[in-house]
Amino acid sequence: MTPDPSTTAFRFGYGLPHPTGAASTVEGMLAALKAPDTMAATYPGPTMAAMLPVMHAADTVLKISRRATDEAEAEAARVTYRGHLATLRGMALGGTRATVARALDAPDGLRERLAWFWADHFTTMAPSRREVGLPSAMLDEAIRPNLNGPFSALLGATITHPAMLAYLDQTQSFGPNSRIGQKRKKGLNENLARELLELHTLGAGSGYSQDDVRQMAELLTGLVIGKDGFRFDKRRAEPGAETVLGVAYDGDTLAPVIQALDDLSRRPETAAHIARKLCVHFVSDTPDPGLVAALTSEWISTGGDLAAVYTALLSHPQAWAPNAVKARQPFDFMIASLRALGIPGARIVAMNEGAFRRLILAPLAGMGQPWQAAPGPDGWPEAPEDWITPQGMTARISWAMDAPGRLVRPPPDPTALMQAALGPRASAALQWAVPRSETLREGLGLVLSSPEFNRR
């Protein structure tokens, strides 16, 4: 099946021009997802293995600085501590640059868009400066390797990743009757258990009870961040069986937790919740019920095989409905703009930090999407009305008028940019307006500010 090429680029990739080596058929797009993740290898981000020793070193000197009786010793420890934090911050920034660079260079834009979708579905944020690189590590260690396999594998990897355990307070949850819970008089924290049921799997209002949340929270006790990353600590796990949605999970090991996550992955509520979410993200805020049903039934019959679910999506005629009713979110807008301007990933990696923050990160925040800082664990909103606001458009138009001239010297011809970035999607109104701009700068800004460039 060979769909309309510009729809492929806008709806399931990061826009025109088509990347070199991009597949033009649905079969080709799906096959590309099975191939090795060359972009992750080309632009590596921070790993837990690299960050944990620095995090521990930071903890150690922080303790020294607090215990020091000698002011000079304390100050020296504080200097070292700040150095470790700066190292972690640099690693995290590397992850941010890598995410941008991959999206710019990827031959398979669909993989990059799916990575974004799942990173949003499993939103994490760094709770402190010490943990600033964790969300990027989760993207590379839990999400990208699992985005084309069974959902249960993706779920297991994300829920047990240190980024998630830290963000949703699982590290603070103790079985009240566990050895450590008893000794330290500590108890449950429901945060991760609740979001796991509400956001990551079944969906709000799908019929689970407060008791299910509580039992799930008891079941999750024992998931901790150890010296070498995630591990299961039996001494914190609530003893005895827990019953979630009528199923009993027994044993103070990781196995029943994994079993529960696997069962949640296969539930029809989970299938319907995430099938709909995929359709809303890629196609329309009010997706065709037949399209959602096709994905849901594929999910249920395969037990949540994501490759099969994507196949159902891309094979459905409604996925290719011609009207572009979604708005590009700011990150999507930014990547599509940089691609249309011909900025390669290598340029982003080499850009000095000040310029990267000024030209990329600060404008994203202005457009309403500060980096890795969604409003909450439910991630970014989907509706165009949430993005195409007076504030958001002020930031988009301002960036569109200002940034191209700073990024590309000499700047491209506005008509050429219009053709490269929009192809057949350029409206008569835009074709009329672009040559009438008074300056090159305003002509380029007009192309990138146009509705057809900002919708997908």
Partner: protein, 405 residues
């Protein structure tokens, strides 16, 4: 999807005042003494949404309840400020005590929306801002209650109501004209660029209206008063500085033609080490009230009611990490010179085991919407039928609590 009507209406608004945008369920009411210039009279209503579930039991501590310290050994450690011999105010809000003494601060305890049992922030906020009960099917109501109030008012202009700040404010979303803006934002465009953008946005109402509003507001700000001179310098603390700018902008608008302003303060989801994590939020809340009061000046503050509400309360007991989890009943903070305050209102349900909701949460004894409805009725004279039928469909307002001066 449904077109976002607000944007369509705004198009007509940029030139002149819009005629009343009638909601199908609404009968438009006429305001005594109102004219085209000030359709809502002199009163100002400010609604602050506290996102993340503010712990009402930590804002307004039931120090006189025998069970309180047992449930909250860590959170009760710091000394609250006694209000009435039973309830104590969180000590971070000590700057509000002069207002309390003047009757310009009040609380309603054990309030909630009709939302129950699922304890999801996102659904809880949706219901709080839609202002509906649970009998309304998901997605059936697409506008917010503050917008439905505006739909009952003829002669509004885009200046009448403002959503301030970067976050979406669904409670103001809907067909009635509303402006969105944040401080320190300006769109600089040449005259020719404006014309060309108008042209390319012409057939896409969403883009057209957002951009038009951005251009109109950017131009309007040039001539706006410098504003908030009375409130003093912006804080050095970053969180407070952001709050200051937000409040100063709101105060500036409210000093002119604006009668309604809404914004949100996030960061109330205090699952762990609450004493530390809630402190900066309590300070911000205090700052919002004190700075708005000084920014507006005595005369306008005297016509103002601020309502700070949240999606639900938090568990009565501390959790395993010196925080609290999602609960049900919470507290509403009211401030303003139009209040007859200095009181803690609402029916206190008690904290003994049998009094708790599901054995874990503060039992809600009144609907947070009823307090907002009484504020609207007292300030603007809406009929009960409009408030109970259209603004908050299905609400029973009960008896007049009489909290307006």
């Amino acid at each position: 999807m449904m077109p976002l009507n607000r944007r369509l209406f705004l198009r007509g608004l940029t030139a002149a005042a819009c005629s009343g945008a009638a909601h199908p369920l609404l009968t438009t009411v006429t305001f005594a003494g109102s004219d085209g210039a000030a359709p809502l009279g002199d009163h100002r209503l400010v609604v602050v949404i506290l996102r993340g579930a503010m712990d009402g039991l930590d804002l307004l501590r039931p120090a006189g309840d025998a069970h309180y310290v047992g449930y909250r050994p860590n959170l009760s450690a710091s000394q609250g400020i006694d209000l009435n011999g039973y309830f104590a105010l969180n000590p971070e809000l000590d700057g509000l005590m002069p207002l309390w003494a003047r009757g310009q601060l009040a609380f309603a305890h054990a309030v909630s929306t009709p939302y129950r049992d699922q304890r999801s922030h996102f659904d809880g906020q949706d219901i709080l801002e839609a202002g509906t009960g649970l009998d309304v099917p998901d997605g059936a109501v697409r506008d917010g209650w503050l917008n439905r109030m505006l739909q009952a008012v003829p002669g509004l202009t885009a200046d009448t109501a403002y959503a301030v700040g970067g976050e979406a404010m669904p409670l103001l979303r809907g067909p009635a004209p509303v402006s969105d803006w944040m401080p320190d934002l300006k769109l600089d465009l040449s005259a020719q660029s404006k014309l060309l953008l108008d042209h390319v946005y012409h057939d896409d109402p969403l883009f057209r209206d957002a951009a038009t509003e951005a251009m109109v507001l950017s131009d309007g700000l040039d001539s706006a008063r410098t504003g908030a001179g009375m409130a003093g310098a912006v804080s050095d603390n970053r969180l407070l500085a952001d709050t200051d700018r937000l409040v100063d902008f709101a105060a500036d608008r409210l000093s002119g033609a604006t009668r309604i302003a809404a914004f949100s303060l996030s960061g109330w989801d205090t699952h762990k080490r609450q004493e530390g994590t809630i402190r900066p939020q309590m300070r911000r809340l205090e700052r919002v009230v004190t700075r708005l009061s000084s920014g507006l000046g005595a005369q306008i503050w005297g016509k103002t009611v601020l309502l700070a509400m949240t999606e639900f309360g938090r568990t009565v007991r501390e959790n395993g990490s010196q925080g609290t989890d999602h609960g049900t009943g919470g507290a509403l903070l009211m401030a303003g010179g139009a209040l007859k305050g200095g009181r803690v209102m609402g029916l206190w349900p008690g904290l003994s085991e049998g009094d708790l909701y599901q054995g874990r949460d503060l039992m809600p004894t009144s609907d947070v919407r009823a307090w907002a409805a009484w504020a609207m009725r007292g300030m603007y004279g809406f009929d009960r039928a409009v408030l109970e039928g259209s603004v908050f469909p299905g609400l029973s307002m009960g008896d007049d609590p009489g909290f307006l001066a």
